[in-house]
Symmetry: C2
Subunit: 432 residues, 2 copies
């Protein structure tokens, strides 16, 4: 639904009521709605194109930076990718009504653990219209109502996409309240207070933006504030691999959360690795900020304490020489953001220790941190990457959007008889 | 470790450092520690008994209520149960190092999703010494360090149990920091601020106590504040079953969170059910607070709006006549605490709708709400019951105490080659 004249608390409570209708829909209806949405995005391409051109023109007029313009753009390529994503989502098995456990506790008393939607999810994202499509359809597939708040730069595109998706979904039999679009910052603040009706917040955006949301709401948040990812070049690192992996992890797409920000180098290979690496990085336009030891080997800017905490999201890399694998792990667990960290080493034992003890969602061996992504993991679309340790961790796809309930089927069973010993549990797992 | 002269933030940060050592221990060491703890609780029975008698004497001197005294008591029976619980926990499979997913993304690039501990868990509980034993050993089995804060009424017993468990664990090779006991309210407040080092809080206690913790910490909380559980007697309810189930759910143990607090009765059976039910409840010493319709049928106290929100934890039941199954579900989702609710009905379709649409961790058919419990579900010990929807829901045992990380094993794999199309992912799931 659109906000119109309703207050945010009333929208949240209406959405909660509708969420039970959505939760009860069979997969056939949810899949039909996904196909209708894909179809409508095809048919309504002119309308989408026009809306996006308005947003782009306005953004250029105020001088929005090029990376932001690129994210804002929703052209033919992005639209086709979005449609393809929806059709691939449609083909995935139903995440709901899955029986995770079926157990006879006693004769006639059967416990089933069954997946169900989380309920109402508030999704807040900055200026990426493709994120709106992805998130709306992931929530629909998993039976969750979504209340979206997009960035104001993408207002026209978001509104067009929302109206198209909403109409197509409703026409396929999904309840009105499955999707709502909010458009102002005041609406967002009001939403953050609806902890009785909103079950989960998924914020996607800058560090400061996500921090703001985490600090201003009692609703559980799934996502990540920052991505301070590391590559550790171990004493047994293959130099060629280390260079290739660091360059990819830094430059393949600098604005991503899984881009490397700090390179840690074992002291034994610092003199061999740093000079050729620095030559390569310079050619790629990367600035290096090094510790004292690094600057004893190559000529680069100096890194301060602040740098070890910094997510540059830019062609800048900090570098630190460490004395041991243990020191590298300590540095990562202290300064990192528990996102994704990689060790480059030919020593399998060192890699194993690193992957065991680094406290991050992704712990890699001999590959680029840029692989941390739902598509690259083969999950299909993702709603985001979580650096929290509860519920879903790392790239979050459909399984992260469901919970479960315990259904207990009895026939006049009471606890007194078990407490007094006249009946006993026998716990027999049944086939699923 | 004991607090001694250390500050709480320094204890939290030391515990975090130790948590990585604990996470790396094989199951053989964790199980040996569990056996050593069970053994020590056996050998040190006199010391435990003496400590508990001191607490009981002090509690009686200040006139602590009988139900609290019962919880505080740690006698021969409770000690044997605790030891039995530890040995049964020891026999369970290792919840760590479980490979949940193994997928070849491309030649030589393999993704594994592997379970690991959450890290450092703060557990706050009131005066139940048996809870200390259960929680400490569950955390140990799952590789999590635990910082415990028990109720001051049980101070002597808790300290004795802590020292015995800690010493036995350390002697079996577990790191010093696997378990810490805090003893003052100021320590608790300081702990709530350690959101960088504490990964999860599990509070067990009264509604107000849990609310306080939820509102005074940024650390994620797993548990429940209150248990406002319902029994709904449907229009097709078997009257005898309804009476047996309501009486059991109300009186089998009034102080539990899974005790029924509100009875909803379909209008069509209110006149048949209420009079005999009320006679039975009166004999059991239960006070009834009814809505207007209820009071039109039987002579009982009046229920106010406040009653529908109230967890009595006492021999009191509120009762409301509803017009339909839908109204019953709405009432439960609005006033309930998403804990456990049961429908009594011979109509399988009504039961199915109830279990689908009631938004609670436990949704039961024709049985008592008192079954909501880790032991009764066959999970072994539990750390508590969660009414949240993220991570673990319902009774939380070992699976709720672990998370996972994604380990990616490559050999010089970079993302640029996939982005440019010179390599493609092929996603092939490997046997676990």
């Amino acid at each position: 639904m659109m906000k119109q004249n309703r207050s945010i608390p009333s929208i949240a409570s209406m959405t909660k009521a509708e969420s039970f209708k959505l939760a009860a829909l069979p997969i056939t209806v949810r899949n039909a709605a996904l196909r209708a949405i894909a179809q409508a995005l095809e048919t309504e391409q002119d309308r989408i194109g026009e809306a996006n051109r308005m947003d782009l023109a306005a953004a250029e007029a105020v001088g929005l930076a090029m990376p932001l313009l690129k994210r804002l753009k929703f052209d033919e390529v992005k639209r086709s990718e979005a449609i393809e994503g929806i059709l691939s989502l449609e083909s995935l098995p139903d995440p709901l009504f899955q029986v995770l456990l079926s157990r006879e506790l006693d004769k006639g008393l059967v416990l089933k653990q069954v997946t169900c939607p989380i309920g109402v999810i508030g999704v807040v994202f900055e200026s990426r219209p493709d994120a709106l499509v992805q998130i709306a359809t992931l929530c629909l597939k998993s039976g969750n109502c979504a209340i979206l708040k997009g960035g104001s730069e993408a207002a026209h595109t978001n509104r067009a996409l929302f109206e198209i998706i909403h109409q197509a979904g409703v026409s396929a039999g999904v309840p009105e309240g499955f999707l709502t679009l909010l458009e102002s910052r005041e609406d967002l603040n009001a939403l953050l207070a609806c902890d009785k009706d909103i079950d989960l917040l998924i914020p996607r955006g800058s560090n400061a933006f996500v921090q703001y949301i985490m600090e201003h709401s009692k609703i559980p948040v799934m996502g990540h504030a920052d991505g301070v990812c590391h590559v550790y070049a171990d004493k047994k690192a293959d130099i060629e691999k280390a260079i290739r992996i660091v360059v990819d992890a830094k430059t393949q797409y600098v604005a991503a959360c899984n881009t490397v920000e700090t390179l840690l180098i074992h002291k034994d290979i610092a003199e061999t690795l740093l000079p050729p690496l620095w030559e390569t990085l310079k050619k790629e336009g990367v600035r290096l900020k090094g510790c004292e030891e690094t600057r004893g080997i190559i000529d680069c800017e100096i890194a301060t304490e602040e740098d070890w905490h910094t997510e540059y999201l830019d062609y800048i890399l900090s570098a630190k020489v460490v004395n041991s694998l243990e020191d590298a792990i300590k540095h990562i667990n202290h300064y990192g953001s528990h996102h994704t960290d990689s060790i480059v080493s030919e020593d399998l034992h060192a890699a194993e220790v690193f992957q065991l003890l680094v406290d991050s969602a992704g712990v890699y061996h001999n590959c680029s941190t840029r692989f941390a992504d739902g598509f690259r993991y083969g999950f299909g679309a993702e709603v985001g990457i979580s650096t929290g340790k509860l519920h879903a961790r790392g790239p979050v796809g459909l399984p992260g959007l469901v919970t479960y309930k315990y259904k207990l089927y009895g026939n006049d069973h009471i606890v007194r008889e078990y407490a007094e010993g006249s009946r006993q549990f026998h716990f027999k797992d049944l086939p699923l």
